[in-house]
């Protein structure tokens, strides 16, 4: 197992190759060897990271410094300065204005260390989550004090809008806008709800926030209630998260005793009551209207929209629903201001993102990093490389709201807009890293099995479509697939997307589309040759390869 502290990328697009990228690559290797750094630094070539006027380009991570155009004679200096002495070789840096195209986002990375940056998890693991005093000592409830004493509700909403914070539940909707909708909605009674029904496979960021820093969510909900004019709120926690429920209930009790929850908070006119509602095991309840139904004591079946919860939500009243991670950003934004928040991440997606890293890598776990780092960085630096050195094949980003990301997109910055442009989705922040030994048909089967199990059954496209898709994939994995199956899968995927009632059904067809778009050859091998290239599927059907 090798851990690298730095990663060097050399561009190898045709133009860079003509200009001697190979020589530069070899030269870097030799220089690194000269300094005895081979075990600490990984060197690779990558296409699509350069642009004409600065090619060939050399990028050094984790500092994300772009050097270019680099000549072979510059390399000894570059390696000695940056990789040996740890100083940025400023004279070789590409001019900032040249950083456009696929590497444009790098120009927004200020300073030299993008490494872990904690905003939402700043206290998790540092304070005693069962002590309100510990929370208060660590700047807790200061944002609430500032809001209630110095700010009008519209100022709070303006600050959140200005910060550019986007919903961290998966969809990336601008949070300030949502708050604005609820604030202007007409109604004598309004609710705020925290969506803590974290059930996306591979995601456990919200659990760590709830278990490690429960008061931050309470503080954020009180601020939200003040901003939108609500006096009652719910935290909907999935039934499986028992520790989180216990800690939240204890935290609410403590906050009541301190006069932070209840009537006339901090002597202001604002009153707020907060409840914890536990789910009972249903993935669909993470969909916001299903969640509302569940709080009301019903089956968690999504409602038809519109009307949206912002105007007709819980018991028909205007309701603000935010994800745990979104809310956890609020106190920090209020304390430090919108501009501070915008100094992290990319212009279109400011702030940080919590990722859970899973799969065939050396180090699994959770990180909070600025928006806009790349998958390659996650794998090489935070996950300490691929396990057993088997190459990276694809990443799956979160149960339903994500996508299958092929290796060709591993240099795309992970933020909402860049991913949307590439036609994939960031999802909830789960990064399931798969190596070459993973079969895409088998992976799609597991995903479709999940959707079949979790579909609430209310609308036909989702209830029937997911079963049909799974049956088709089962046939393909047994070596009984036909060429018509590809069309069937494409049709099911399209129907799911266009005709399902809620987000679950609409996104459940994504894996089908993704494996056909990105791994067509592998699916075809199952169908035409009756061979599973990864050797995972038990192909009981006749093999054309040997029988023809």
């Amino acid at each position: 197992m090798k851990y690298y502290r730095s990663m060097v990328l050399v561009s190898n697009d045709p133009q860079s190759m003509v200009q001697g990228a190979q020589e530069i690559f070899d030269c870097i290797k030799a220089e690194v060897k000269k300094h005895n750094l081979e075990d600490e630094i990984s060197i690779a070539m990558a296409s699509d990271i350069s642009r004409m006027d600065i090619s060939p380009v050399v990028i050094v991570y984790p500092e994300a410094v772009v050097y270019g155009p680099v000549k072979a004679e510059d390399v000894p200096f570059l390696v000695e300065e940056h990789l040996y002495k740890g100083r940025i070789a400023t004279r070789l840096q590409a001019p900032k204005k040249a950083l456009s195209g696929p590497i444009a986002w790098l120009s927004t990375r200020e300073g030299s260390l993008p490494a872990e940056q904690r905003i939402v998890l700043e206290r998790a693991g540092i304070i005693d989550p069962e002590s309100i005093d510990d929370y208060i000592i660590h700047e807790g409830y200061r944002a609430l004090g500032k809001v209630l004493s110095d700010m009008k509700p519209e100022d709070v909403i303006a600050t959140i809008k200005e910060s550019g914070l986007r919903g961290r539940g998966g969809a990336g909707f601008p949070t300030g806008m949502k708050w604005g909708f609820v604030a202007v909605a007409k109604g004598d009674k309004k609710y705020v709800v925290c969506n803590a029904d974290e059930s996306e496979p591979g995601t456990f960021k919200d659990r760590l926030i709830l278990e490690g820093d429960p008061h931050s969510i309470i503080e954020a909900l009180i601020i939200a209630s003040y901003a939108v004019g609500a006096d009652e709120g719910y935290i909907y926690v999935r039934g499986e998260y028992e520790l989180a429920q216990t800690r939240l209930k204890a935290a609410i009790q403590q906050a009541k005793e301190y006069g932070i929850l209840g009537k006339n908070i901090f002597g202001s006119d604002h009153s707020f009551e907060l409840h914890v509602h536990a789910g009972a095991g249903a993935y669909i309840c993470g969909e916001e209207t299903a969640l509302l139904e569940s709080i009301e004591g019903k089956r968690g079946e999504p409602r038809s929209r519109p009307p949206y919860p912002t105007t007709e939500g819980l018991w028909g009243k205007p309701t603000l629903i935010n994800n745990v991670e979104t809310l956890a950003n609020i106190p920090a934004i209020i304390r430090h201001g919108a501009n501070w928040f915008k100094s992290f991440g990319t212009p279109s997606s400011p702030g940080t993102k919590v990722y859970t890293i899973l799969g065939n890598v050396n180090k699994t776990g959770l990180i909070e990093v600025p928006m806009g780092i790349t998958l390659r960085e996650v794998i090489s630096i935070y996950a300490k490389g691929m396990k057993n050195g088997i190459s990276f094949k694809l990443a799956q980003t979160g149960g339903s709201s994500g996508s299958i990301i092929p290796a060709s997109l591993q240099d795309t910055p992970m933020d909402y807009d860049s991913y949307a442009k590439a036609g994939v989705s960031l999802g909830s922040g789960a990064l399931l890293i798969c190596n070459e030994e993973v079969c895409v048909v088998d992976l799609a089967k597991v995903l479709m099995k999940f959707f079949k199990f979790e579909s609430c059954g209310k609308c036909n496209p989702c209830r029937i479509g997911n079963i049909r898709a799974l049956q088709t994939l089962d046939r393909i994995s047994e070596g009984l697939g036909t060429e018509a199956d590809i069309e069937t899968l494409q049709m099911i995927s399209k129907n799911l997307y266009e005709m399902s009632n809620c987000g679950l059904g609409q996104t459940s067809g994504a894996p089908l589309r993704d494996i056909i778009d990105h791994f067509r050859a592998e699916v075809d091998a199952h169908i035409k040759l009756k061979v599973c290239p990864a050797g995972i599927c038990a192909m009981s059907g006749q093999s054309n390869l040997y029988n023809n």
Binding site: G279, A282, Y283, G297, R299, L358, G359, L432, F450, E454
Partner: protein, 159 residues
């Protein structure tokens, strides 16, 4: 075996306890069902009827909610319930082999309960413990980083 009346008493007590813990309102239906399910191991028909009377909510509504959520069971389960996560992160970490080993060790398929009432084997969606996958939960105990070798030893801890 407990007699019929003993069972009825247990059910009545569990429902009474739950109805006293929570407010008698329809919105408390899920917490009430969860509590009775925890106390009795499942939700017998009698319990659903008593809850329906207590909350003044139609029986059909109570039953439809009880059968919707995965953590609630309207069927009796074994003394020990194995919940195995079969989602992608655990699958990639080698969950398929563990699942086969579990089926073999208990001689059960998904959703079945053994004839002697010892084991129930059910699959569950992600438990949020993916960093230590593959994961299973036996009763309330979580087991992570499972390997095929560990299965007999873990199951052996339960009587």
């Amino acid at each position: 075996m407990a007699s019929r009346t003993e069972i009825t008493v247990r059910v009545t007590d569990a429902v009474k306890d739950a109805l006293e813990t929570y407010e008698k309102k329809e919105e408390e239906l899920i917490p009430i069902l969860s509590k009775v399910n925890r106390d009795l191991g499942f939700l017998p028909q009698e319990a659903l009827e008593l809850i329906s009377e207590g909350l003044k909510v139609p029986k059909s509504r109570v039953k439809s909610v009880a059968s919707f959520y995965h953590m609630l069971s309207t069927k009796p389960l074994g003394r020990h319930v194995i919940r195995f996560c079969e989602n992608a992160p655990c699958h990639i970490a080698g969950g398929g082999e563990i699942w086969s080993a579990l089926k073999e060790a208990t001689n059960l398929q998904a959703g079945e309960t053994s004839p002697d009432g010892k084991w129930s084997l059910i699959t569950t969606s992600c438990l949020g413990l993916c960093a230590v996958g593959p994961v299973m939960v036996v009763d309330g105990d979580v087991y992570g980083n499972l390997t095929v070798d560990k299965i007999p030893e873990i199951l052996g801890r339960y009587e």
